[in-house]
């Protein structure tokens, strides 16, 4: 197990290294300089500014410097936001994104488990059909469409929640709902399939025949065993929530990293784009690693030694 974890951590760093390298050279491929007002600068001024950002060096030197900085947790300096280090920018904006992301994941997963379980227990009835329909809606409707609809009805028309604001819990409700739809659909679907499988297994028959109540059979035996595989879809779900949060944060004007990312794209703030790309990838590979290891601990049937995946 320890050997496996070490191996995975090694690959994690290799992956991150390749991602950082690719991102760096992709950004260098972009034409033009980041200083859009260069016409107003004298050549001397331009030289000074370039030297300040280290852009007067050769690409290779810049690359080595950038990678060296990464090792020390330095993601470079933003062109746009008053020369703030990218790490500071991310740090300031991490909390709101994490909050709505976590809320959406928890809400989506809990509701999804309930929905999927109910659908499986009442298989082939109208309850099942309804639950399946809801999960398909959650999977299919893009989070930004949902966000705009929620904003229009719950905030603008009925004044239940603020339209676009970030201060208290109230203001996080709508973005959370918009982002929770996808995990809900995913989990409900997955849960239903798992639960249907489990419900037809021998140990459930045994539990039933021992005279346990239906409630006890479901909560003590069926639910528990169906829950384990849910762990595997946490990784992909986290990615989709991250993706969704970029535009959902924009719609609700939440000062999070997603909004920052979109803003950096429209303002060509390359260091911030690079930094956020690496940061997002880091977050993702770490989540996937943790999930894989967790899965090995939870379900001893899985032998992590043999690849661990699939």
């Amino acid at each position: 197990m320890a050997k496996y974890i070490l191996k995975r951590i090694f690959y994690l760093f290799l992956t991150l290294f390749i991602i950082a390298t690719l991102t760096f050279f992709l950004m260098k491929l972009l034409p033009g300089t980041p200083f859009s007002n260069q016409n107003r600068m004298s050549p001397d001024q331009l030289k000074i500014v370039k030297a300040q950002y280290g852009l007067d060096q050769s690409v290779f030197v810049q690359y080595v410097r950038y990678m060296g900085g990464l090792l020390q947790g330095n993601l470079g300096t933003s062109f746009q936001f008053n020369n703030e280090p990218v790490t500071t920018l991310i740090g300031q904006r991490l909390a709101p994104s994490m909050q709505i992301g976590a809320q959406a994941m928890i809400l989506g997963t809990v509701l999804g488990i309930l929905l999927g379980a109910v659908a499986a227990i009442r298989k082939n009835t109208w309850v099942d059909t309804l639950a399946t329909f809801i999960s398909i809606l959650g999977l299919s409707i893009p989070s930004f469409v949902l966000a705009v609809l929620l904003q229009f009805y719950l905030a603008y028309k009925w004044h239940i929640y603020p339209v676009a604001l970030w201060d208290n819990f109230q203001s996080s409700v709508l973005p959370t709902l918009a982002l929770a739809a996808l995990p809900l659909g995913n989990v409900a679907r997955f849960m239903r399939t798992e639960m249907v499988d489990v419900m037809s297994s021998d140990y459930i028959e045994l539990a039933k025949s021992k005279g346990n109540s239906a409630w006890k059979v479901v909560t003590k035996h069926a639910l528990r065993n169906s829950l384990i595989p849910i762990v595997t879809i946490i990784g992909p779900m986290a990615v989709s929530v991250m993706t969704g949060s970029m535009v959902v944060e924009n719609i609700f004007s939440i000062p999070g990293i997603g909004e920052q990312f979109v803003k950096s794209i429209t303002t060509n703030d390359y260091p911030t784009i690079m930094g956020l790309t690496i940061f997002y990838s880091f977050l993702l590979v770490v989540i996937i690693l943790i999930v894989d290891i967790l899965y090995g601990f939870i379900d001893p049937r899985i032998r992590l030694g043999n690849g661990g995946k699939e």
Partner: protein
């Protein structure tokens, strides 16, 4: 050779067992695999409805120049932001009336639109016909989806087959590459590509396809691993068939169900990415419409002119739901065991 004794024909008698022949009789015509799949698919009501809906949408998109009532990019600034109107029929919501300061006003009269002119879904802020823009936008979104899916197939299928077929070190290296590509969130790669490439149809397709093939390659690889242990593949190998021929003759036909099912999930994904990119403003450039740009335009005016958002939102959602459900239906049809 031994002499076969000459037995007269009359000595032979057909022993006819009535009961047995009844039992052995095959009552229904035997079905090929594809016929069976088709039958299962068509007996699934949801899948049929989705298939019909999608066919209609695809047909309208293909014949967009014939179907669209107006030029989607023609601007008529005097006729901007008109609400939906369906001829002279007085259907609430489609009668050209608009809420202005708490009163319902005939917006068409106000701007002095010609008497017989009407826009089924209204016009946008530049006076362009929304219905036509939606038809052309759907067309563009579908083109992006189909092209991205094609590129997906062209890269993903051979990659998966080679990786699974060769095995060993080749497979390990190829799988490492897949792992690295798939460990960056798709959308980030797509966005990076969009920043580097010039905005436009081709760039979106490339950007989506560059990450999209990974899932396909993974599935194909796993399947190839199973298939190559099959007897018929072994037989083909023993007979000296070349690897390429085995791949095209034996592997691809047997992989077709996986490919078709995965394609049905790639299409909505591509549509989503296109809409997403256009929504944040780095997708399809103006003045062309796609579902994403229409949504983005609609969202800006949503508070006062909600109809501009509704139509593209509904069409986008319908396409997404229908493709997802059809994908489910196809999976059940191809693999009846997955059905519970």
């Amino acid at each position: 050779m031994e002499q076969i004794p000459d037995v007269p024909k009359e000595k032979f008698k057909l022993i006819h067992d009535e009961n047995n022949s009844e039992q052995e009789k095959i009552g229904t015509p035997s079905l090929t695999y594809l016929q069976d799949v088709r039958r299962r698919l068509f007996s699934n009501k949801v899948a049929v409805v989705c298939l019909t809906l999608l066919s209609i949408i695809v047909l309208i998109s293909i014949f967009a120049p014939l179907v669209a009532p107006h030029n989607p990019n023609a601007q008529q600034v005097t006729l901007s932001n008109l609400p939906p109107k369906l001829g002279n029929l007085n259907i609430p919501g489609f009668n050209g009336y608009q809420n202005m300061g708490g009163k319902m006003v005939d917006a068409y009269k106000q701007v002095g639109a010609p008497k017989d002119s009407f826009y089924l879904l209204g016009t946008d802020y530049l006076g362009r016909d929304l219905l036509s823009r939606i038809i052309y936008g759907t067309r563009l979104s579908l083109i992006v989806a189909v092209l991205a899916t094609l590129v997906d197939l062209i890269i993903g299928v051979p990659y998966g087959i080679v990786s699974g077929w060769k095995g060993g070190t080749t497979d390990t290296i190829m799988q490492r590459i897949v792992e690295i590509v798939s460990s960056v969130p798709n959308l980030i790669v797509v966005i990076l590509m969009m920043i580097i490439l010039k905005p436009g149809l081709g760039s979106i397709v490339i950007a989506i396809a560059i990450t999209g093939w990974v899932t396909m390659a993974r599935l194909i690889r796993a399947q190839t691993f199973q298939l190559k242990e099959q007897e018929y593949v072994l037989a083909a190998r023993t007979l000296g068939e070349s690897s390429t021929k085995i791949a095209t003759k034996h592997l691809i036909p047997n992989l077709s169900s996986t490919i078709i099912i995965q394609t049905m999930f790639t299409i909505p994904n591509a549509i989503f990415f296109e809409a997403f990119l256009s929504f944040i403003g780095i997708g399809i450039p103006a003045p062309n419409a796609s579902l994403g740009t229409l949504l983005s335009d609609g969202q800006k005016a949503f508070r006062f002119l909600p109809y501009q958002m509704w139509a593209p939102a509904i069409i986008l959602s319908i396409i997404m739901i229908a493709t997802n459900l059809l994908g489910d239906g196809l999976r059940d049809a191809f693999d009846p065991q997955s059905d519970d």
